[in-house]
């Protein structure tokens, strides 16, 4: 039970549980990929199966994530939509004046943990620095594997060529990225890597591992995919360096112009709205219907879940008596109930949706906030 639990939001599932009793339609947005093999994944997937039992719709950020979610929760694939993340391209514009004319700078911007492939990074840095004297590394981010990078720096005396910036604030990420020519992402698992889109928008050439949903994100002329091995990454990186030295490939401004039309928050909001409008036509799943389904879903745990549901209904009735719903103002927009909302706003068949986002912390929660803001903007 280590990092998978971190990206498993308890509050989200609690909200989903209450939506059954309140008669609120629910949408679940999944930002991360899960395996099937280890113990924590098995338990998490089982809970997900029960939790998403009465969901109206699920949104995933990539096609691979969709396949993963469908397998994990035994949903019908038709009930899962693929709506990718987006970036605010105006915040990530290239700035060629910030580049060093005599050097090729390779930027890395990620958490320095096992999942982000820092071990792969430590394998390729000495080789590249040795072969290309004009190449420098600029590494932003912190984590428990930072010590490995510092060791490599010491071992090969690369103090002047490998710069470790530590934790970089989100507002300053673009300023760091525009100093580079090439961006490297060595993740071992990624559902939709937004950092490579940000880097490509800043005009950097992107070299990345082809795990998870990454091959779906950028067009082939903007990215170099590699297998998650040091040899493959080195090869891809070398071809990127060769392109940079000879001035081949798309120019930074061309890349930015192309990308700014592909991933837009307004598109995300529009497509999410289609999902919301679609589920309003569906009938609300009543607790009784849910209980029928739960009865068959698990021999023991299904029954326990039903008991919890009944207790929740009793509690809701008590709350209805104590603080009746008619005394609480109803909001008029569709964009209710974010992660923080879990109060008893009754309303059978009302035009309310519970949109529950969960994903890994830091960047994931930022993505969640950006999606919510985009939907807000378009519907008010």
């Amino acid at each position: 039970m280590n990092q998978n639990l971190k990206s498993f939001s308890v509050l989200a599932h609690e909200a989903l549980f209450h939506s059954a009793v309140l008669g609120v339609r629910s949408v679940f947005t999944d930002h991360s990929l899960f395996g099937f093999a280890d113990l924590s994944s098995i338990l998490t997937n089982n809970v997900l199966k029960f939790s998403l039992n009465g969901i109206n719709h699920v949104i995933c950020v990539s096609n691979t994530a969709r396949e993963n979610t469908v397998l994990r929760s035994n949903l019908n694939a038709k009930d899962v939509s693929v709506i990718p993340n987006a970036i605010d391209a105006s915040q990530f514009q290239p700035d060629l004046s910030r580049r060093n004319r005599n050097k090729i700078v390779i930027v890395v911007m990620s958490r320095l943990v096992y999942r982000r492939g820092t071990d792969l990074l430590t394998s390729i840095i000495p080789y590249i620095c040795d072969k290309y004297p004009q190449v420098d590394f600029l590494i932003g981010g912190d984590g428990d594997k930072r010590i490995l990078l510092e060791e490599i720096r010491e071992q090969h005396s690369l103090h002047s060529r490998v710069e470790l910036l530590g934790m970089v604030q989100h507002e300053l990420v673009r300023d760091v990225m525009v100093r580079g020519n090439i961006f490297v992402n060595t993740s071992l698992t990624e559902s939709f890597c937004i950092t490579i889109v940000e880097a490509a928008s800043c005009g950097l050439k992107v070299v990345t591992t082809d795990v998870g949903g990454i091959p779906e994100v950028l067009p082939p002329n903007m990215v170099k995919l590699a297998k998650p091995t040091p040899e493959s990454l080195t090869e891809a990186l070398e071809s990127a360096i060769a392109e940079e030295m000879n001035g081949l490939g798309l120019s930074p401004l061309e890349q930015h112009d192309k990308l700014k039309d592909i991933y837009k928050w307004s598109e995300v909001a529009r497509r999410t709205e289609i999902v919301y409008n679609g589920i309003f036509k569906q009938s609300v799943i009543t607790p009784k219907h849910r209980m029928d389904r739960l009865w068959h879903l698990g021999i023991v745990f299904g029954k326990i879940w039903i008991m919890a549901l009944v207790l929740d209904m009793i509690f809701c009735k008590f709350l209805e008596w104590w603080r009746p719903a008619s005394y609480i103002d109803k909001t008029s927009t569709q964009t209710l109930a974010r992660l923080s909302e879990s109060s008893c706003n009754a309303g059978e068949g009302s035009q309310k949706t519970l949109d529950v986002n969960h994903g890994s912390p830091s960047r994931g929660s930022l993505r969640v906030r950006q999606r919510s803001k985009a939907i807000d903007r378009i519907t008010t």
Binding site: L33, P228, I274, I279, K281
Partner: protein, 309 residues
């Protein structure tokens, strides 16, 4: 279809493709049809608008999923042979406990036990020299025997004040822990620290119930052999002479243990026999039967494994 307008009355940007605005109930599950403006194959990409709704399910859905890539199939008799190591260790523990009971009832004199232990240790030493096994350290064992002789009064008095029932319960738990944490692998991967320590602790518990100091020392020496040297010796023998010697060893262990237990209590012997039959013949059958039911899923969502080169 609801017509969205901004608050100031301006229209929202409408996407040029009409198919995007399909409502969900209009979209029946057309799995497999290649829709789209340009009548091309649907590709698994996010950067292109392929003119299909967001919940379109292509025929290539889950095509990259693979099942049971690394699952091995078992042969019944080879699994039965492999259970020999478990049977041997359980029998060893039973023989050890029976030795304790005999010592307590003075059916076995300490001289006899010491001479048996000495012979076994010498055999072990000869074996070490012959097979050049680095793990069987005879020097450490001699040092241990000497130290045990000096410290045996202390060791015996460690658990003297604890009641007999607690002692027996603790011994049972410790021996169970020893069996559970024992390294049954053909080639020793871990040092088996927990199993060794559990065995020694069980010995210390039992030694305090013995009336005589010398008897206690005999038991400690026997335990040093059983928990310290025997695992390594057996592993070496098995790796060199598998499977024939293994079968002989299993049978010898089984017969010895059963004979010793029989002399004390016939019912327990019968129960043991049934238990071993279950472990040796029924458990492999279950394993072979359940193996095809495995459902391991592999696909592009798997976390990559970094191979240290």
């Amino acid at each position: 279809m609801l017509d969205w307008k901004r608050k100031d009355g301006s229209e929202l940007n409408k996407h040029p493709s009409p198919t995007r605005h399909k409502m969900f109930e209009e979209y029946t599950s057309v799995i497999g049809e290649h829709q789209g403006r340009s009548r091309q194959l649907w590709r698994k990409v996010l950067y292109e608008d392929q003119g299909v709704p967001d919940n379109y399910v292509d025929s290539s859905f889950l095509r990259e999923m693979q099942k049971n890539l690394f699952v091995r199939s078992y042969n019944y008799w080879s699994v039965v042979l492999s259970t020999g190591c478990i049977t041997q260790q359980i029998n060893t523990v039973i023989i050890f406990v029976m030795c304790f009971i005999y010592l307590q009832e003075k059916l076995l004199t300490s001289y006899l036990l010491n001479s048996i232990s000495a012979v076994l240790l010498l055999l072990g030493y000869a074996f070490t020299v012959l097979t050049n096994c680095s793990a069987c350290d005879i020097k450490a064992l001699i040092i241990f025997c000497t130290a045990a002789f000096v410290l045996s009064p202390v060791l015996m008095s460690l658990t003297e004040t604890i009641s007999t029932d607690t002692i027996y319960a603790m011994t049972a738990i410790m021996l169970l822990a020893h069996l559970i944490s024992y390294d049954y692998e053909l080639h020793a991967s871990t040092d088996g620290v927990i199993s060794f320590n559990a065995g020694i602790f069980a010995t210390v518990c039992l030694a305090s119930r013995l009336p005589n100091l010398l008897l206690g020392y005999s038991l400690i020496i026997l335990s040093a052999f059983v928990f310290g040297m025997l695992p390594n010796m057996r592993r070496e023998l098995r790796s060199h002479f598998f499977p024939y010697l293994d079968i002989i060893m299993t049978v010898v262990h089984f017969v010895c243990a059963l004979a010793l237990v029989c002399s004390k209590s016939f019912t327990v012997a019968i129960l043991l026999f049934c238990g071993f039959f279950f472990i040796m013949f029924i458990c492999p059958h279950l394993l072979v039967r359940l193996q095809p039911l495995k459902n391991n899923l592999h696909g592009p969502w798997d976390e990559a494994v970094v191979v240290e080169s």
